[in-house]
């Protein structure tokens, strides 16, 4: 049997297993919006752990991580640095958000924000901006899946076909089973990603250099600039500390605020499950160590891959690995892509219907669920066609997406923790933040210290939110009472 046929066979088995798990998962869900969007708030620790890990780490981490380590060296360590910072605040915020959700019926982030700051325009604005951030993110996932399949099958399965099949399956299980499919397939995909990353990350340096230490000794002798922060920029010139540091900060804030992750707080069975998920998250995150080792292993290869993002498939094909290992690697990369893509598609449909359409036209529960399914298809198709365009600078778009979602942080924190905040303050702050971020995105030369536009947006947003809130009338006691249960007298 030809090598690529065998590899394709492994991919087919993996995809079939994912489809079966996804379809079986939805059988127990109730036919309601809470069932489709929040899984009837039933996820236990095992599922929450893998949903969180596999959703956070997408094909950007699995393919882009080694690509960055290979071409930009220590710059890649930013991906390592932000995860815990973005996740840990959920130890406190998560149970709070979940409690409000149970009591006031929220299933999305915008519902929580507008529950405290009632405004239909605000709700629609959040839905629109979420969608703007989601589409490029889904597009990257779809493209990543297509690239990997094309590479490991020596081009016998072209990008358009691989991406179509992989995401056709994602769309089927999201349509049928909603968030329960996302939960159970992510558990399967998360285990796959972690096991394969560790296995390959330890195996490749050992096979090529005789160990991790010897590998870094050789890199330190030949390319020492790759091993110290802030590493290199995309063009291979030294990167700046300002860009490195603010990328960590904006990624941490953005991670905290991505609506598809935030919404998972509503799916947990109970508060202790949420807290344990946060405590254990760093153990999942450490799988980035072997991911970077894979990239560093390629640094001293005599031949260069066609572009840095394909370092992983390139090395897999150029190190005479057994076909079984190549097939499993591909399944791991597909896991990383699909486990993020499914959550994104599901969340974007939920957000547009719940926070956009439903604010203006009252829909019954059944119509909402039908409309969500239509939107899953529409978003998936849009992202698929964008993914086929090789000219699109997706990494750039994703960096922008973090600029957009990081602006949700002040409204969320104000809703949860600041009684004096007002609707006018939150709306004007958000608009000011987005305008600032957008301005610096289109005029990168004007950024002070090469800071990320998302951080600059936050620096403008926070004072505007505070000033306008203080200048407008405080919310009524009874309205606040629903959000802030009476403090204990202790």
């Amino acid at each position: 049997m030809e090598r690529w046929v065998f590899i394709t066979g492994i991919i087919v088995v993996y995809l079939a297993a994912t489809l079966v798990i996804g379809l079986l998962a939805g059988r127990k869900a109730t036919h309601s919006v809470a069932g489709y969007v929040a899984g009837d708030r039933s996820f236990g620790l095992l599922v929450m752990y893998f949903v969180t890990g596999a959703t956070v780490f997408s094909s950007f981490a699995f393919l882009g991580g080694p690509g960055w380590a290979y071409s930009r060296g220590a710059a890649a360590f930013y991906i390592l640095a932000y995860g815990v910072l973005g996740m840990a605040p959920f130890y406190w915020m998560g149970p709070r958000i979940a409690e409000l959700g149970r009591r006031l019926g929220h299933v999305t982030q915008a519902q929580m924000i507008t529950g405290r700051f009632p405004s239909r325009a605000l709700s629609a604005l959040i839905a629109l901006m979420s969608l703007i951030a989601f589409v490029p993110y889904v597009t990257i996932q779809i493209r990543g899946a297509g690239i990997v399949i094309e590479a490991v099958t020596d081009g016998h399965i072209p990008l358009w076909l691989g991406a179509l099949v992989a995401y056709g399956i994602v769309i089927v299980y999201v349509l049928v089973s909603g968030v329960l499919a996302v939960g159970w397939t992510n558990t399967f995909q998360g285990i796959f990603m972690v096991v394969i990353a560790w296995a390959l990350g330890l195996y490749l340096p050992w096979k090529m250099y005789g160990g991790i230490g010897p590998m870094f000794e050789q890199i330190a002798a030949a390319r020492p600039e790759l091993l110290v922060q802030p590493g290199l920029d995309a063009a291979g010139a030294p990167w700046s500390w300002g860009a490195y540091s603010t990328l960590i900060l904006v990624s941490a804030v953005g991670l905290m605020m991505w609506p598809h992750l935030f919404m998972k707080a509503y799916t947990a069975k109970d508060d202790q499950t949420l807290r344990r998920t946060v405590i254990l998250f760093p153990t999942f995150q450490l799988f980035l160590i072997p991911v970077f080792l894979i990239g560093f292993a390629g640094v001293l290869l005599p031949v260069a891959p066609p572009d840095p993002d394909s370092i992983l498939p390139f090395m897999i094909l150029n190190t005479d690995l057994p076909a079984l290992v190549v097939g499993l690697f591909c399944a791991g990369a597909l896991s990383a892509s699909m486990s993020t893509g499914d959550a994104l598609l599901h969340a974007s449909a939920s957000v547009v219907v719940e926070d956009g359409v439903n604010q203006f036209v009252r829909l019954d529960d059944r119509t909402q669920r039908i409309l969500m399914r239509v939107l899953v298809l529409v978003t998936g198709a849009t992202a698929y066609f964008m993914a086929l365009d090789p000219g699109a600078s997706l990494v750039q778009l994703l960096a922008t997406a973090y600029g957009v979602v990081s602006q949700f942080a002040p409204p969320v924190l104000a809703a949860l923790y600041w009684r004096r905040a007002t609707t006018a303050g939150v709306v004007s702050g958000l608009v000011a933040g987005w305008v600032t971020a957008g301005f610096f995105y289109f005029n990168p030369g004007l950024k002070p210290f090469e800071m990320h536009e998302g951080i600059l947006g936050l620096l403008v947003q926070v004072p505007v939110l505070v000033a306008v809130s203080l200048a407008t009338r405080k919310q009524s006691q009874e309205h606040l009472g629903a959000f802030f249960p009476a403090r204990r007298a202790s």
Binding site: L80, A81, V84, A88, P230, S245, A252, I279, Q285, L286
Partner: protein, 73 residues
């Protein structure tokens, strides 16, 4: 340990971590040697902060849980 102390320590750990992995806290540790477990120090440093977050958060959780149990009992 009281709840306040535990929250303060956990919060302080996270803030210290944010400083330690960005400018200027990262600068003194952005170096190749000493290598730890085969990794350059610049790589080991952020990884160690991540790994240490697990016992820190676990410790916080123990105190928080005891406090909640006491409240209900």
């Amino acid at each position: 340990m009281t709840l306040r102390t535990a929250r303060f320590l956990a919060g302080a750990y996270l803030i210290l971590m944010a400083v330690a992995v960005t400018w200027p806290g990262m600068v003194p540790f952005a170096r190749i040697r000493p290598m730890v477990l085969g990794l350059p120090f610049s790589f080991f440093w952020p990884a160690a902060w991540i790994a240490m977050a697990v016992p820190v958060l676990y410790g916080l959780d123990r105190v928080e849980r005891r406090h909640r149990d006491g409240e209900e009992g």
